[in-house]
Amino acid sequence: MAQLPALDELIACPSCDALYLERDVAPGETASCLRCHAVLEAPRRTAMTRIIMLALAAIILMVAAIFFPFLELEVAGRAHRASLLDTVRAFSSGLTAPLTVAMAALIVILPLTRFGAIIYTLAPMAFGNHPWPHAQSAFRMAEALRPWAMAEVFIVGVAVALVKVAGLAHLSLGPAFWAFVGLVIVTVLKDNFMSRLTVWKTLDTRRKF
């Protein structure tokens, strides 16, 4: 290994540090690490446009989920309706108040911030322009927030809660519930299309040309 290629031609696996020669990976193909099997690059044709569209759809669905009724409970002719914001506010009284902030962040604010940051990073490049300033910080933030945007965990929580209550009362799902289900599907699709190293590479080359 006396003669190592130039740094630009190398890539290190972020998970296990294995060193590889950078090759152009064809769209549709996936390059993964030989040792730890982490996906290194997975470019997809028109991935950028698709990710932006999905992120936009997710934002619209989130807005719908916030403003439409989420769930409605009916016992002996008396109905109680809860919106997504009511769910967030559930902890607001007494000692559990700090959880309100956390709930709002995990379910609404962080997912929205992530979608926004991803659109900010990719939109100019999808139109063939230079990335906007601070695109790197935006994308780094989007990646750091990934585990903390818990929309899909929340929807499973809703399912569990529904079963718990189903025996006691008649329950109906509002439009916001379906908007939120759509949001989860769109988020999962978007994250599957997006390959972190590919985005960084594209950002880097687009910045220079």
């Binding site: 696996c13 296990c16 008396r78 000692l95 079963v163 209550v165 972190r196």
Partner: protein
């Protein structure tokens, strides 16, 4: 992509005297502090990683105790209030015959947090001591821990949904208990603990073994 070393064994950036960025994979000469591609801070190995893992893990363990002792839910039916802990909630669900849901809650709130504590402790120990498990298997374990961590938050969300929905004045109302806070904090701390772990350390220990 082929390994740049062309050797049967995998050449790492560290072994080649270089530093890889964990965010974007770019390779740098040693001494560079910030990645010029993505702007992330870079280090050949995060030397304080294991310390931070232990600190967050212990913090998570400590707050997990009140999460199990104090009530998660306060249910008032016709003026009578009853409180249930995490485990109590699982038992209630089983009494109602919803075994599937009981299993989900039991897994998300008890099995997953406990096995996560054990798995993170094991991984942190494994980079300091020799263990039998191969590096490949430990890497897989780390990926599972990272993936599964956030799902423990289910129970907190269930409490929030129930509390916002079941507010029928005198007839029935559900309010969150203080355990919800410590449980959420415990999940967050263990997530930070898992994220603090530098997975490259798993492979380093393995290499040292091969080289002698």
């Amino acid at each position: 992509m082929e390994n740049a070393g062309h050797a049967p064994q995998i050449l790492t950036a560290k072994a080649a005297g270089l530093v890889g960025c964990v965010q974007c994979g770019r390779v740098h000469r040693p001494g560079v502090m910030v990645c010029d591609r993505c702007g992330a801070a870079i280090a050949s190995r995060d030397t304080t990683s294991v310390q931070r893992v232990w600190a967050w893990l212990f913090a998570g363990l400590v707050v997990y105790v009140p999460a199990n002792i104090y009530p998660m839910l306060r249910t008032t039916v016709l003026g009578k209030t009853s409180e249930s802990t995490i485990f109590g909630g699982v038992v209630d669900l089983m009494h109602h015959g919803s075994y599937g849901i009981a299993a989900i809650v039991f897994f998300a709130s008890i099995i997953i947090p406990c096995s996560k504590f054990a798995a993170i402790a094991f991984l942190a120990l494994s980079v300091q001591r020799k263990v039998r498990m191969s590096a490949g298997a430990r890497h897989k374990l780390y990926e599972v821990v990272e993936f599964v961590g956030r799902w423990s938050m289910i129970d907190v969300f269930v409490v929030a949904i129930l509390a916002s929905l079941v507010q029928l004045d005198f007839a029935a109302s559900i309010n969150p208990g203080i355990a919800a806070v410590s449980f959420a904090v415990s999940v967050a701390f263990t997530m930070i603990s898992a994220e603090s772990f530098d997975s490259r350390l798993i492979w380093d220990a393995d290499e040292d073994e091969h080289h002698g």
